[in-house]
Symmetry: C2
Subunit: 189 residues, 2 copies
DNA sequence: ACCTGAACACCGTTCAAGT
DNA sequence: ACCTGAACACCGTTCAAGT
């Protein structure tokens, strides 16, 4: 490292950053799976000594959490306007892709993946749609957890197509909608 | 080891067996999680040298697969007679407990857990119930994958109660039942 | 047949320096 | 501030013996 202007992010190709480390980690996951990610291997790929990584991540766990958060951030999209069932289907469809991506490697960290900011935003969007549909808050929260469980399960099982995911989601939404029509859980308009 | 009668399973407390190894491994998972399971730690707990374990399992992966298969075998129960919705609910409820058990440690190996004999038996039972309900084979298989995804997802997310699991399952079954009533997927009686 | 040792090629991480 | 070395306490697993 020959150094650049002071007080700036190093612009040299060998300059480390959280983003550059995560890029390499992501490539390793895609190539050889999550278990192939080691501090030493990342360091070698970045042409740096292993301990250099500890300037950017406290430990390996923090690095992997950041990797999962990055994946969920990328793919999750805000919901569009329109009928509540279609909005939910679009939202959960992209969540399924995010959670099942990177060769299912993230599946191994599902419990941790479910507390990332990306998933929190997803929940806020989903709860909003359910409120729009007429669910009172508590019933909406319950319906949301059920919908997310289905989505996570489909991502984890992995074998299914997007079409089959949509089929099952429609059946689940049918059940929720007919409950909504029965008035038991409907909020005042 | 002072040896016992020949051609028998060793009865001595220090005699190894697949079952004894899996028992200790299960205890380690429950105490400190799946990542705490190491060949060396199991060996130490069994008062044996690490390489002794390789007489019973080809490698660590095979040992962990056997551990997961054992957990799913224990908890999965055959379905009782009665209304198809109740039979499915009982079957999937016990599956949820099996997959979510041992402190969620098994969740990390979900994709592998889904190809164990216990889950295959679960699928056969579930498909039988759906056929009884009137689903023609292809529609029944599709409905089964959706139901299992929901169950697996609920087990993986983990936070939910059995009551909430049952609520979501009822909504999903509502949707499947109303599809069945619409005749599109119904088999000839 | 079943278990022992020693050894090899890996890990994550602490600690003390270097510049 | 950022990276280097060396070292420590672990891994899974191979290989050659022991009894």
């Amino acid at each position: 490292m020959t150094g650049g202007a002071d007080k700036r992010e190093p612009a040299r190709p060998s300059g480390l950053s959280r983003e550059r480390i995560l890029e390499v980690a992501s490539a390793v996951v895609e190539a050889d799976g999550l278990e192939a990610v080691s501090m030493r291997r990342l360091a070698q790929a970045l042409d740096v000594w292993p301990m250099a990584l500890y300037r950017y991540f406290a430990d390996k766990d923090e690095l992997l959490d950041a990797l999962v958060a990055r994946a969920t951030d990328e793919v999750t999209r805000p919901a569009a306007r329109g009928p509540w069932r279609e909005r939910l289907a679009a939202l959960l469809g992209s969540a399924r892709e995010a959670l099942g991506g990177e060769g299912l490697g993230l599946g191994a960290r599902l419990p941790r993946a479910l507390v990332t900011p990306g998933v929190a935003r997803l929940a806020r969007d989903g709860l909003g749609i359910l409120a729009d549909a007429g669910f009172e808050p508590e019933a909406g929260a319950r319906a949301w957890r059920v919908l997310l469980s289905y989505t996570v399960g489909f991502a984890a099982v992995g074998g299914g197509e997007g079409e089959e995911f949509a089929y099952g989601l429609e059946r689940l939404l049918d059940g929720l909608e007919s409950e909504l029509r029965s008035e038991a859980v409907r909020s005042a308009p």
